[in-house]
Each structure stands twice: as structure tokens, then as C-alpha cells.
Subunit: 308 residues, 2 copies
């Protein structure tokens, strides 16, 4: 590597040093920790790891907007939770329904159209909707230090994948532009699809049946299914990433596991052990016990968003 | 491109010309059919398209051998079809059970172990078992013209994927060495996996529940799930590939669809419309109606196997 700082938005400290040291070791041909380029697989969670996730997952905001837009065609929603609360704008009531309510909203708004129609909806929304707190596009609320890390890993011969609980097609609508991660390297939760031959040609329709929720114990299974190799580096921020980090660090060779710790209430948000969104509790304990790297956003990140 | 013949095992003819013409058009910057490199996705069926599949799928031969090896631990198999016929060596009786019998054998031999244990079994078998007719390793029975095509497409900026009814983990055990296709670009039929934390660390165990049979109408859905872009070129050899070719050719830009037609009983096998393995009937009609390329193995291929 050159002397140019590949991670200028990272303050000098243990996290930055650990990243640079790991990459240096696995790319050092002839060194005992050298890893061939084709085995340099790095997996990244998305929500809370590559972009923000507060006050609730950005994809939920998309689903809420779609519910409102579709409400005139669904009179039955006016009496039925969680739709009723969405339509009346009572987001607190919606969130009180927990994950099942959110999943129901996502299913209702992510099925019943073709994959291409959904892609248009997602792209239009991402290009126009702004975050309630920052007034920025959601795709602007990505973490500058993580963008630098993605670029640095790719420049070091890594193939970078997203492995996230977010919807696979929702993320693919922006991951290539926002992160430089092509669709085939984006893995997420997904619904079943159906091939249909229509008069003007074949389409894939999105069904309301869930295929996989890419979180917790499913992250390693989805990694195996899509990638077929164990990552040597993984990056997450919540207990939903714990098994991915366990799987990554259980290989025979060198490995790297990192948690993004949301500690900066001034520039972003501060939350961990008791947060309903992005809870980080068990994984923080395991990071401590096993010496995983923890990036403390307040201390380790000079800049958080590209617009800072 | 240079004047070097990228496809030396292809005889001059319509198939070779069509391939060269398509690649030339989509890689010609400034031309009206130019396709950006990241969109140059090519998908290949495996059985019958990249390697032989007679007298039955090679993976079935693997399953048969595993059944015999496991039989002492399964006394109940001695009374139960299709296991009974496998153990007594009556392959004809096994095949008479059709696809359901084969699926049962595959499930019985592809579950109940970890992904890493299965990988070892598959690699050991592939490195030792020989084909009953050619006495060659199965990984030698790959098609030289298709190897050249894979290499040529990659040299032309394509990303090459396998999309096959074969088992995803079985194919990954040899695809990187045999075809230059890395595990993350191999898509196939798969069973469900389970993440388990054992005393010495996490494992992924292979369950007996099928996740997807990657054939027919599922090929486009699996392509969407794993790749997230529509291929611009697809290669198959049987009716199980029809929907993949339909999906590929239904995009807005230039596209290419090709069938490998097994017409050479002297050097390989000759079969199509009525074959129980690799039936090619509807797709052959559609290729004719829509002007898809058909590679006639006897006429178009100067050499079939690398050892020829």
C-alpha cells in the first residue's frame, strides 16, 4: 500500500489501526496470514452499519408512504391495524406493534407488482423523500468512514457484499450508486417470486410469501447460499449481526469482525442495549470478550455523513 | 478484439458467427447495441450445457455411491425403494421412479451433515469416481467449446454465472477449477440450512427440506434473487432452460439465447425430444420460431471434450 491515508474520515485509534493491520496482513504475499484475492470476501450489514436507521428503518418509511399512497384502493385498511394507524399518521402506534406490524406493512407494499415496477417505485422514492430530522435524501445518510472502508477493501482485492435484514430489491435500488456494490453482491430479506408469461412477455411478480428474513441465525445460511464461501471480514452494528460475525471468525485463517457503535447523539444517534431499533447488547458483550473491533462513532469517526 | 480465434473448437458456421457477432456488438463502445460491462451478465445451465448428463445426471451417480456407502447405517433402506434398488445395483429400477425417486436419493445423501463435511465428500468423489462409458473423471467430461466460450465472454467483460438444476454445493465443489466460475456465481437447487452453535464453534447443517429446485419457471426467479439483473446472454440445452432463455431475451436491449443440441452419438450422445434426461422439445421449437442460436454438437463442435 502507499502512504496515502485510505481512511481519512477515521481518527487514529484502535479501530483504524486494527483495520489497516488486518488488510496489511492478508494482502502481504508470502506472509503467514496471506489470503488469496478470491477468498477476500467481506460482508456488511446495511441498516445502522452503512447508513442510519433511526428513528426507524428507512425502508419502513418507504412502506409507510406506499401504504398512504395505496390507501384509496384499500378501504378495508381504514379499520385494520397497523394500516389504520399508518393512514392516520400515528407512527408511534404503528411502532408499538413491533416487528410483526412492520413486516405486515412491508409485505403489503412489496408484493402484488412485478420486480421492475417495484424497482421504479423504490428509485422514485429514494430520489425524492427526505429524512424527518436531517432533511436529507436517505441515500445521503450513508456513513463516510464506511464508504472509505468499502473502497479501501475493494482496492485491496476484496469483494464486498451487503448482507442485511433489509429487502433485497429495495437495497439493490440504491446500493450500486451509494456504495459501489452491484446487485449480485446485495443479499437481503426477500419474498417469493413467480414467473408469469403475459401477452407482452414474461414478468416476475412479487408474492406476499416471505422467502427469507436475512437476520440473526439466517445471516450465515444466506451467506452460504449466495456466496458459498465464508467471509474473512464482517461488519455489523446490532445483535442481528452476531451470528454473521461468529461465522466469519470461526474460519481457519485470519478474520476480522467489527461493530459500529452508535455513540454520537450530536452528529447521529446514540443507542445500544435497549434500543428497539438496532439493539446492540449480546454482540457488544461478545465483541468485548473476543476482542472484536468496535468503532465508536463519536470517537473514531472524524466525519459521519458525506455532507458533514 | 484481436484476430486470434477465441473459439478454436467451434467450426465456422451460423452458431459461431452468431456468438462472435453478438459479443462484438455489445462491446462496441459507441455502437447502438453497446452494453456497459456491469450489465454483461451471462448465465449457463450446467448438466448437458457445460458437461455431459448421460446416461443420467452425474450428481445422481454421486448420490448412488453415497447411498451404497451409507447403507450399513440404514438397515431400513433394504426394504424401501428407491434405496433397495440402489443397493442391489438395479439402476434401471431406480430410474423408473423418475424425478421423485432421484430427488429422494439426493435429499438422503445431501443432508444430515455440515456444509463443510459435504464439500469434502463431493470433492473426494469428483477426484476419484470415473464415468462408466468414458472411464474419465466427470470433471474431464466438460465441453471444450463451452470452456472457450466462458473464457471468451469473461475476456469480453462478461460476468459468467451457472444457473442449474444441479445442487448448488455439489457444483461449487468443482466449478471454480473446471469452469473458472467462483462459488458466488454458482446458483443451483438447494436445501435449507441451519446455523448451529456447537462446542467447538458454529456450523451450518444441511437439512432435508428443499429450498428451491432451480429449473423451469424457477430459473428466472433464482436469477433475480441471486443476480438481481436480467442476463443479456443465456445458454441451455433442455426444456428446463426455456424460461431462462425467455427471460433473458425479454429485456429491452440486445440479448442472446443459445441451446446446445446433443446430436453426436459417436463422440458424446444424441438425444432430444423424448429423452428422459435433458429433454429438448418445446425449447427447440421456440428456438426455431424465435431465431435463437442452436449449437449442433456434431456439426458445430470440432472437439467435444478437452481429452478428445
Amino acid at each position: 500500500m502507499t502512504n496515502i491515508d485510505a481512511l481519512p474520515s477515521w481518527n487514529d485509534g484502535a479501530a483504524k489501526t486494527a483495520i489497516l493491520d488486518f488488510v496489511s496482513r492478508v494482502t502481504n504475499e508470502g506472509g503467514q496470514d496471506y489470503v488469496a484475492p478470491e477468498k477476500r470476501i467481506a460482508t456488511f450489514d446495511n441498516d445502522g452499519t452503512l447508513w442510519s436507521e433511526q428513528p426507524y428503518y428507512f425502508q419502513v418509511d418507504f412502506a409507510l408512504d406506499q401504504i398512504k399512497a395505496l390507501a384509496p384502493q384499500h378501504p378495508e385498511w381504514s379499520d385494520k391495524e397497523p394500516f389504520k394507524s399508518v393512514i392516520s399518521g400515528d407512527i408511534k402506534a404503528v411502532l408499538s406493534g413491533g416487528l410483526p406490524a412492520l413486516v405486515e406493512l412491508v409485505i403489503a407494499t412489496h408484493s402484488g407488482m412485478t420486480t421492475e415496477e417495484f424497482d421504479v417505485l423504490a428509485r422514485e422514492w429514494l430520489a425524492s423523500k427526505r429524512h424527518s430530522k436531517t432533511n436529507r435524501l436517505f441515500t445521503e445518510m450513508v456513513f463516510q468512514p464506511m464508504l472509505e472502508l468499502l473502497t479501501y477493501l475493494r482496492a485491496s482485492g476484496f469483494k464486498t457484499f451487503i448482507v442485511s435484514g433489509g429487502g433485497i430489491e429495495f437495497m439493490r435500488a440504491f446500493a450500486e450508486i451509494a456504495y459501489g456494490v452491484p446487485p449480485e453482491q446485495v443479499i437481503g430479506s426477500s419474498g417469493k417470486l413467480k414467473f408469469e408469461m403475459r401477452a407482452d412477455g414474461p414478468v416476475l411478480t412479487k408474492l406476499s410469501e416471505i422467502a427469507v428474513i436475512d437476520d440473526n441465525v439466517e445471516k450465515p445460511t444466506v451467506i452460504q447460499n449466495h456466496i458459498g464461501r465464508r467471509p474473512i471480514a464482517s461488519f455489523g452494528n446490532s445483535d442481528g449481526d452476531l451470528q454473521m460475525l461468529q461465522w466469519t471468525t470461526a474460519g481457519n485463517g485470519p478474520s476480522f469482525a467489527m461493530l459500529v457503535h452508535h455513540t454520537d447523539d450530536a452528529r447521529e444517534w446514540a443507542y445500544d442495549r435497549t434500543s428497539p431499533i438496532g439493539q446492540l447488547d449480546k454482540a457488544l458483550d461478545e465483541a468485548s470478550a473476543r476482542g472484536w473491533t468496535v468503532a465508536d462513532m463519536r470517537k473514531d469517526w472524524r466525519r459521519i455523513f458525506p455532507f458533514d
